[in-house]
Amino acid sequence: MKYLVSILFSAGAFAAEPISPELAVLSAEARGILAHNCTKCHGQQKQKAELRLDLREAAMKGGESGAAITPGKPNTSELIRRLKLPKKDDEAMPPEKGPLDPKDIATLEKWIAAGAPWPDGATAGIVFQRTPIAPRTPDFPAGTETFENPVDKFVAAYFLEKKFAWPAPVDNRTYLRRASLDVIGLLPEWQELQAFDGNRAKAVDALFARKEDYAGHWLSFWNDALRNDYSGAGYIDGGRLPVSSWLYNALLKDVPYDQFVRELITQAPGAEGFIKGIKWRGDVSAGQRVELQAAQSIGQVLLGVNIKCASCHDSFISDYTLKDAHALAAVFSDKPLDLFRCDKATGEKAAAAFFWPELGSITAEAPRAERRKQLADILTKKENGRLARVMVNRLWAACFGRGLVEPVDALDNPPWSRDLLDWLASDFAANGYRVTRTLRLILTSRAYQLPAVEVASADELAKSSFVFQGPIVRRLSAEQFTDAVSRIATPLYKKRKFVPGDKGGPAFAAGAQWIWNDEADGNINAFPQGKRYFRTAVEFPKGSKPRLARVVGSADNTLACYINGTRVLDNPNWNEAVDADATDAVLGQTGITVAVMADNIAPGAAGLRLAVAVWFEGQKTPLVVATGPGWRSAQKPADGWEKSAFADGEWAPVLTLGPTGLPWADVRGFTLLEHGGFVRAAFVDNDPLQNVLGRPIRDQINMSRPTQATLLQALTFANGRSFDDTLTKAAAKWTARIPDATARLTNIYRTALLREPRADELAFAAAAPADLLWSVLLLPEFQLIR
């Protein structure tokens, strides 16, 4: 215990006089009372009667009237005597505010009686533990050569020290479910699990290739962090400007994190809202002015530093001062920013500065745009190891259920492995701040593949005595759960609140027609088995600059699509259209060549339906290239058939089968944006269901979602009308699709639980289908991520 506190409250690892946790708290309380009531006159600004009460040495020394504090003796301490005098007495303190709350005086007495502990006061203020700012790349620990993944090298060393043996990794089903939920937020399909050959690195790559799904999942993480997607009012000035489109595109393109931060700080187009904050109508406390909101958000989200306290007074929980908070806020201020202490103007103006001067300085006199740029430079420079540490710790927490440092917004707390944290951070920075790269590294580690660890209470996770043994059992987030319900039951949401970038989505696919190679005398149910090849090419309008491209398609039975020679889409399922981003394939191009290989794996019906949309700079309406007349096809391709330069003049015109109907009337995904015809939860407004499951309202930044189930949630499930409606509809759908009860049960288990029902579970087939779905969705096996 003593050891721990010495870490917390001293500059070095070993304090001269470690104090007990109880005294540490008492000391913080006492100093808080002094800071709130005394230091205005006896502090940094003024030293009335030559007394200062903000620094240990000065406070103990006393002022004109001698010692103010006599440690151990509250009854003879001048401070207490003065505080207890009646208000009218000339010597009564504080003179203006009147007598302190007796409770506060009692606390001060108790503190003095305990010896007036004031941790390590050798330098100004209280010295709190601080994680170093500079980056650090520790060497791999000795004796860990057998581990390939650097993460595992550090974890192996840690396990060795903790005398903990590596348990066997989890099975494929557990792994794929876990990884899929962490990368794209969606449960894997049964077919995916069947096709999974156990190559976990490959599976992770395949997940990251689903860029839109990835963005749709991580959007919620960032919405929480950036206080985005807040729809409340009570503000003026355009309110809480959303950054949704900017954010979505940044995720889609995996914009390097340093660039991401730079755009947030410099308020790049579309990203203005983060700094802009919420400008409330009426008076707000000085600590909630928009500039201070910006400073607090930067501190909390980007640096893992809490300067909310310091926005009102010098912090009691860190050594950040009122001036620090205001200086950072002043970076974003249009005019000189007034310094307020506890909501009272001090008469001073804050000059723009950053609280870690070793990283560089900000020219206080420079225009606002320049100051923002300077701050962005400081934050993103390599010497600021803090930016990367905070981020990798958040990624770790997202994948393991508990950060290397906890809470994730307080990076000065000790990590369970400083070497691992520092190595991940420096690796992240050294490799271009690619979030997906670090995530890949984490997800392919053996550490991530460890069996999930059960925890008796959430408090266990918060303790700094936490010992890592593997990922924590987690609960599906509100968004993961509702997306899963949409997939397994019936779509909960069908209309997007916002369509990233542009409106449209694969509504652009509406005009696409089913086509095939013309070879069965028009008998569309009698095509021979085999692969067929399709092409079309279109020039872009002169001078137009493509900025975004999407493709959506399905083929009976499978397809692979190339755009300008780059493979952009694979869809192995004939009964579901899949969409993908194809921006990289068109950027800088003057035209588009779409080449598709489709495979009819058995004689009979065959078809391909596909559309590509390309958006250009400055234009809202995309250019659409869709299957239909004008496409050409061939039975056997020559080399380079997929490339733009290939001459397909000898290929035959395709047979157009029609827009819909045919054997593929039920193919999902052409008219709606997502797989399976549902809109993901992150793209719609918060609703009562998601709210009760923990999606925050976001009037504050909140990165800690509740994980514990509640009675209100259970009641929502047990009798919520909309949830029941959803399941009733879903039951009808399932019953129509699979009339046989046992087959249906099997399918539901496969889809939801990714396993076959065991023999003793087959009896559940007799249950009402809606009840079956309800029960499955509420099983811990479904609700928890193990």
Partner: protein, 473 residues
């Protein structure tokens, strides 16, 4: 559910490390707790701003005349005597007047001005005791009570809000304080939007027979058993899931669920309360108090320019609001008394601010100049101008009954001429909250560390109680 020993356990070193950010944690031991005089709270919320001069603190009545000077009008209703000698209420509140021997009327409730009147911000302030915006999510008073005292009856949600619909008016702003904030959604409000449809919130979904409801639950239990995880796990998330599912099932099939069914109330009693949604909300509150709820809020509902948000045709609308509240509030007091529950049930009737015909915000502040739809013409030409009110923060009336509150008392005083502002014993939101917590036996020191900040039930834990409001201070 709430293990007090857990709360009171010694501060561990580890929890200091964790206290900077993240989930809230109690980091102190309560030295002493007040002795509880109430187990249940019923907050009767007059949403939209109830003018004190038109309700519980009537001033000089000036009847309507075409062309009358707007500034002359103080009250648009006559005064009527109450059961307390020399104390009068505005016409239309005679029933409440008759039960005032069971409670206290505070006439000196002063709320913050906040620079600009905004119903949602002021309601946020009243319900959380903190002026918005706050850097952490502040809990509704009901959530504090639920957290500190837990459920009175394990199958009845401890914190219930009746009557506020969230699909109209200012949705998000209302949600912002109908929350447990950092205390965690476990303590959040159970929302009953329609008192007459309350039963639907606690019975199996429409169309599901009791048999199927039972069958579904047995199926679920069987599945749990077969999936093999139910017994062996010690994971808190799984535990909480299974526990809350059982709790929900317990409530939905429990006799207590019948408390939500107003149809079970004898016709006579039903009619006594039935002045509309609010009146029936009071009836539901009575039934839930009997069933064991801990904190119940019944709101007259906030919808901009409706209910107590009385601007145009203020006189007629105020008359209607009084009709809505008078009988049911009085009946609630009488019924609880008849059932022996009033002594341990604290009823509080309050509003986010008061109103005045001429002034906006604080007493010293004249109404803003310029285009202003709320502004009265200097001379009233039509009846719709009569009783038209702006927003006033300098005084307001609050009623308190039962649960250890002094009986038959008037506390505080306002001026008899405009501005009819508080001139004696001002009472703040913090005072009222602290007095309520005191009656519930919740220490003023109650706080949690959230993001390193100690967050108290009232700002810094410093709002004093008003001993004069208590039967035994």
């Amino acid at each position: 559910m709430n293990d007090r020993r857990t709360f009171l356990r010694q501060l561990s070193a580890a929890s200091i490390a964790a206290m900077t950010v993240g989930s809230p944690r109690r980091s102190y031991a309560i030295a002493s707790k007040p002795k509880a005089t109430a187990d249940t709270v019923i907050l009767l919320w007059m949403a939209g701003g109830m003018a004190h001069t038109e309700t519980f603190d009537p001033k000089r009545y000036v009847p309507f005349e075409v062309g009358m000077e707007a500034g002359k009008v103080l009250s648009t209703f006559e005064s009527r005597p109450t059961v307390i000698d020399g104390v009068q209420f505005s016409e239309g509140l005679e029933e409440i007047g008759k039960v005032m021997d069971r409670g206290t009327v505070i006439r000196s409730h002063v709320v913050a001005d906040m620079g600009s009147i905004l119903h949602s911000r002021h309601q946020f302030h009243w319900h959380t005791c903190y002026e918005p915006p706050q850097s952490v999510a502040a809990p509704h008073m009901g959530a504090w009570v639920a957290k500190e005292l837990g459920a009175r009856n394990p199958v009845v949600p401890p914190f219930i809000v009746i009557g506020q619909r969230f699909d109209r008016g200012e949705k998000e702003e209302l949600k912002a304080f109908h929350t447990a904030g950092f205390l965690g959604s476990e303590y959040g409000p159970f929302l009953v939007e329609e008192p007459t449809a309350a039963l639907e919130t606690v019975r199996p979904p429409k169309g599901m027979t009791p048999e199927r409801f039972e069958a579904r639950h047995s199926l679920y239990r069987e599945m749990l058993k077969k999936s093999g995880v139910a017994e062996k796990s010690s994971d808190y998330q799984q535990d909480s899931l299974l526990r809350s599912m059982e709790q929900a099932y317990g409530l939905l099939r429990s006799p207590e669920a019948r408390a939500f069914d107003l149809a079970l109330e004898p016709k006579e009693a039903y009619d006594a309360y039935n002045t509309g949604r609010f009146g029936l909300g009071c009836l539901l509150a009575r039934r839930l108090t009997e069933a064991g709820a801990r904190f119940i809020e019944v709101t007259s509902e906030y919808i901009p320019f409706e209910y107590w948000d009385t601007h145009n045709t203020g006189h007629d609308r105020t008359a209607d609001m009084k009709r809505q509240i008078d009988r049911p509030v009085a009946q609630l007091v009488r019924d609880l008394e008849a059932r022996g529950l009033l002594d341990r049930t604290l009823i509080v009737l309050a509003s986010e601010f008061s109103r005045d015909a001429m002034l906006e915000g604080a007493a010293a502040k004249p109404a803003p100049e310029g285009a202003d739809t709320k502004k009265l013409p200097e001379k009233m030409s039509e009846m719709k101008h009569y009783g038209m009110h702006r927003h006033f923060t300098g005084a307001g009336s609050v009623l308190m009954f039962g649960g250890g509150i002094k009986r038959g008392q008037v506390y505080g005083k306002t001026a008899d001429e405009r501005p009819c502002t508080t001139i004696e014993n001002p009472v703040s939101i913090g005072n009222i909250h602290q007095t309520m917590y005191h009656a519930l036996g919740i220490s003023p020191e109650t706080h949690y560390e959230i993001e390193g900040r100690p967050f108290y039930t009232t700002p810094d834990g410093k709002s004093p109680i008003i001993p004069a409001l208590l039967a035994k201070a």
